[in-house]
């Protein structure tokens, strides 16, 4: 599997190169403060970070969508970039299929769009208006739109946020399959540490406007939470994110226990 970027030497030109990237929306303070990042061709990087830490800001910079935002830095990205926005951003005046195939210049655009929709579980909804889709369905339509155009770099901003566990696993599988075929570089924002570990070659944590933590996922074969290495990485990342232990609930249940004891 020489294609896995994680195994490449650093001599190969990176697909994405970011140097001392600064971005700020006002005088108060920068959102990105000298961020450096390289992504090798074909590498799958998951981006974690607090809400408001600047993940979307970084993605928009990479996509060249932040013309108005003050800042400096060097960004190099491939020609063909595809973005899954945090909001699904379907054109409300186009039916779902037309949204997916928009700008697709292949002769069989409609067929490919139909197939992509089927793959994200929206077969039969080609003619629906975006407002007729549920939140998760909109998200999947927007995913289909990005995947159907074989980008060299895929920037995905929480593309699975509104999906249930099963659908999410299906989308993981789909994304992995497409990555294997087309080998794009991927930068995927997620809030789900498990998802990051399962999917990515590398997990980075954004904090204070720089990459605070950069962890290569060295797990192999079937990545399972049961694997102690998985659990270790998970714990480390959660610590980086400020969480001592996941899903602890000190407040209520403790209180209740105390109350119970008192009653």
């Amino acid at each position: 599997m020489a294609s896995y970027a994680g195994e490449l030497s650093t001599e190969v030109a990176p697909a994405v190169r970011v140097r001392s990237l600064h971005r700020s929306f006002n005088e108060a303070g920068g959102v990105l403060n000298g961020l450096d990042l390289d992504i090798a061709p074909g590498e799958f990087v998951a981006l974690l970070g607090r809400s408001g830490s600047g993940k979307s800001t970084l993605l928009r910079s990479l996509a060249g969508l932040d013309r108005g935002v003050a800042g400096t830095g060097v960004i190099e990205v491939p020609e063909k970039v595809s973005v899954v926005f945090q909001d699904s951003r379907l054109l409300p005046w186009k039916r779902v299929l037309d949204n997916v195939t928009l700008g697709l210049r292949a002769g069989d655009a409609a067929d490919r769009g139909r197939q992509a929709l089927a793959e994200v579980g929206l077969a039969g909804r080609e003619k629906a208006w975006p407002h007729e889709l549920s939140g998760g369905e909109q998200q999947r339509a927007s995913l289909a739109r990005s995947l159907v155009r074989d980008p060299e770099l895929l920037l995905a901003d929480e593309p699975f946020g509104a999906l249930d566990a099963l659908t999410r696993i299906r989308m993981h599988t789909l994304l992995r399959k497409l990555c294997e075929v087309h080998q794009p570089a991927v930068l995927l924002v997620t809030h789900d540490v498990d998802e990051a570990i399962v999917l990515a070659d590398r997990v980075i944590v954004l904090d204070g406007g720089v990459v605070r933590h950069d962890a290569r996922v060295e797990l192999d074969g079937r990545r399972s939470q049961a694997d102690p290495a998985f659990a270790r990485l998970r714990a480390r990342l959660l610590t980086e994110l400020g969480v001592e232990d996941d899903h602890d609930a000190p407040g209520r249940h403790l209180d209740r226990a105390v109350e119970r004891a008192a009653s």
Binding site: A63, G64, L65, K80, V81, S82, V83, F85, D87, R89, L91, P92, W93, K94, D98, L102, G103, W129, P130, H131, R145, R149
Partner: protein, 282 residues
């Protein structure tokens, strides 16, 4: 408990399949459209006219009675003047409308999509629309003569302004995030115009069209003063020269009919073409 019916707790009442009890919530939007509601106001207006005339509140010398108007209209139809006027004016208005809509849309696209285009086009159009059409007529006569081309172009000049302003405004107020999206999809400029700009500006364009249609009708009154021998505008002008109130009122009724119908047609198109919208009205 907020329910539609109060007797739900009655144990004898079975919950039939067809029962439909929904939470009542104060409705803030305008609610369901009333079928043919638009005609109520017009009917009221007509009624007021009839009653006002019958009771003498409305002086027939100022506003002819409806029955006299019907009678006069009958005469005008009999001797063919009304139909002839309608046809002549209809052709003029349609040509002017078509030309104006085309020019207005193209200018709006050029000016809306490029700042250079805007800086050249927008100012002169603001100047144009600040100037009474009547005052432009001498220039237009100078350049175009007193024949049909002058008339059609004058109408087009009246029409293209609302089309331009509304389309330009509609275009400029398309949400920026859709342009962003289009940029990341790598669409060409043509595709951008076709798939994002035109549909996005469509609500604005259609509102402009509502004004354009009326403008094309109103412009008839101005242009048919000059070297016209028939047309609704000509008919009204001539009649007011001679103080023939009844014919004037026939003309105005025709105007009202045409205006209301045209507006209704545009709004129907609006409803069909913009069915993707979820607004307060829907």
């Amino acid at each position: 408990m907020t329910t539609l019916t109060g007797n739900l707790s009655a144990p004898t009442r079975a919950l039939a399949e067809a029962e439909d009890v929904r939470p009542t919530r104060r409705r803030l939007g305008p609610g369901e459209p009333i079928r043919f509601g638009g005609l109520i106001g017009i009917a009221a207006l007509l009624l007021a006219w009839v009653v006002g005339s019958a009771t003498g509140v409305l002086d027939p010398r100022t506003l002819t009675e409806p029955w006299t108007v019907v009678q006069t209209a009958g005469t005008l139809i009999e001797n063919g003047r009304l139909q002839e006027s309608l046809v002549t004016s209809g052709i003029r208005a349609a040509l002017g409308l078509g030309l104006g809509v085309l020019v207005g849309t193209v200018l709006a696209l050029v000016s809306g999509l490029s700042r250079i285009g805007e800086s050249f086009i927008d100012g002169p159009i603001q100047v144009k629309r600040s100037i009474p059409t009547l005052a432009l007529i001498p220039l237009l006569i100078l350049w175009l003569g007193i024949g049909e081309p002058m008339k059609v172009i004058t109408i087009a000049l009246a029409v293209f302004v609302p089309i331009y302003i509304h389309t330009h405004n509609g275009l400029r107020t398309i949400e920026g995030r859709y342009a962003e999206l289009a940029e990341t999809l790598g669409v060409t400029r043509g595709e951008f115009v076709r798939h994002v700009v035109l549909p996005g500006a469509m609500p604005g364009f259609l509102l402009g069209l509502r004004f354009a249609v009326t403008s094309s009708l109103l412009a008839l009154v101005v242009v048919e003063v000059i070297n016209a021998t028939s047309g609704i505008g000509h008919m009204i002008t001539l009649a007011s020269n001679y103080g023939q109130t009844d014919i004037i009122v026939v003309g105005l009724v025709v105007y009202a009919l045409l205006g209301v119908t045209a507006d209704a047609v545009v709004r129907l198109i609006e409803r069909k073409a913009l069915s993707w919208r979820r607004t307060l009205a829907s």
